[in-house]
Amino acid sequence: MNRLISRVLFATLLVGSAIDAHAQFGNFNLNKLQDTLKKGSDVLKKTQDANVEMTEANEVETGDGMAATFLGAVPLHGDATLQRYVNRVGRWVASHSSRPDLKWSFAVLDTPTINAFAVPGGTIFLSVGLVKRLGSESELAGVIGHEIAHVMQRHHVKAIQASAKQDLLKMGLTEAADRSGKSALAKEGIKVAVSGGMDIMAKGLDKSDEFEADRIGAVLAARAGYDPYGLVVVLQMLAALKTEESGISLLMSTHPTPNDRLTELEKFSATLDKYSSQPQVEDRFAKVVAALK
């Protein structure tokens, strides 16, 4: 705890001196020291509070840091028509979420791997390998709906916060919230959050979060006017892919995740059925995919 206190004080001094750029270091001021100490204890008090909440600005900044890292490893797909198409479909589905006014963006990555994922703040990635596997816009809407649900429910943000045992992250986020991300400490906090976020991407979210994202994803697709069974088809495709394409059926069959997800989603078939006659929108989707090189 002593170490923590001294770190908080050091950081506060740092921040304090950065803010008061006009401060004269030669002119020692007792009032100023007291003020700084008080600031330090305030930060410490907030730090000890277990419920450090990331603000929406923090969330966006963290997500952007993560997104930039992904894009440093995997290139964006070069087809502008595809990028615009996915953004229009995605934005339409996102407009039906509980966070319709986030700055949503959807990016197709140029990799044949089959995946899609979201980062905090509203940036969603899909691999072109996955897009090419889909058969209709309703399937795309289902996948995108799943990812939007993660952002809507702040699944990654909560996981980052939960794993944020590091004093630095807590302090940084507290600072970031107070000073809108301007201070050195706030920047450090975001950096730690980005790194924590990347760890969560590699480790994975809780199963319950994934099941929830499937349910909400199907609901969002239905709200956007699509046949919600699009998501079911994608899960079946993934489930079939797993055993057959790997050539290691036994190993894979011990890990039947997409089938588990189908079984969970089946609990909500009454809702799915009700909207199953809504359009799948195949033609428009097929045109965009057919034009891909």
Partner: protein
Amino acid sequence: MFFCFRKFGLPVWHAGFARAVLFACIWPAFALNAIAQEPLTTNRATEMRSQPDDSASSLQSLSPQTKVQLVERKGAWSRVKTDSQTGWVRMMHLRGGITLDEPATTTGSSGGFLSGANRFFGGNKQGNMRAQSATLGVRGLSPEELKSASPNPQALATAKSFASTKADAEQFAKAANLSSAKVNDPGVAGTGGAK
């Protein structure tokens, strides 16, 4: 060409394997879904019907673990082919690949849609083996490489430049005859039955 093999991943027991792969490759892309006939399996006893409707006549009673090929789908129904017949089966009565009556593994799923940022990165041993078939020739995807990847904010800016707006997206939806529906989330108490 490699891509076609990987993409369609036809079952090894498929009789016309080579011919089918060739066929798949020359098919226009809109046929992707139709040709990617992964084997599905019934996970319970179910009826194959003449129409996508519970009241339509039954063509065949399928026992659990029947392998079927997907032909097309319509709403809650999939038209599938068994060795002897083609007909409609409730989509929710089908699972992918081999259906094991085992409890779900407790392995945490991942942030990715495919249960796999893990798999996307190369991940664990299972993931690695899986990833090899799917990520051949792609660089920069292992966790090590991702860690050492230098952030590319410029690419992010480009990605964001394609973003749509609420109004633009709405117009695009209308062009495909999509209209918003009021749908209660069945998982939230008070807005519909969860079971």
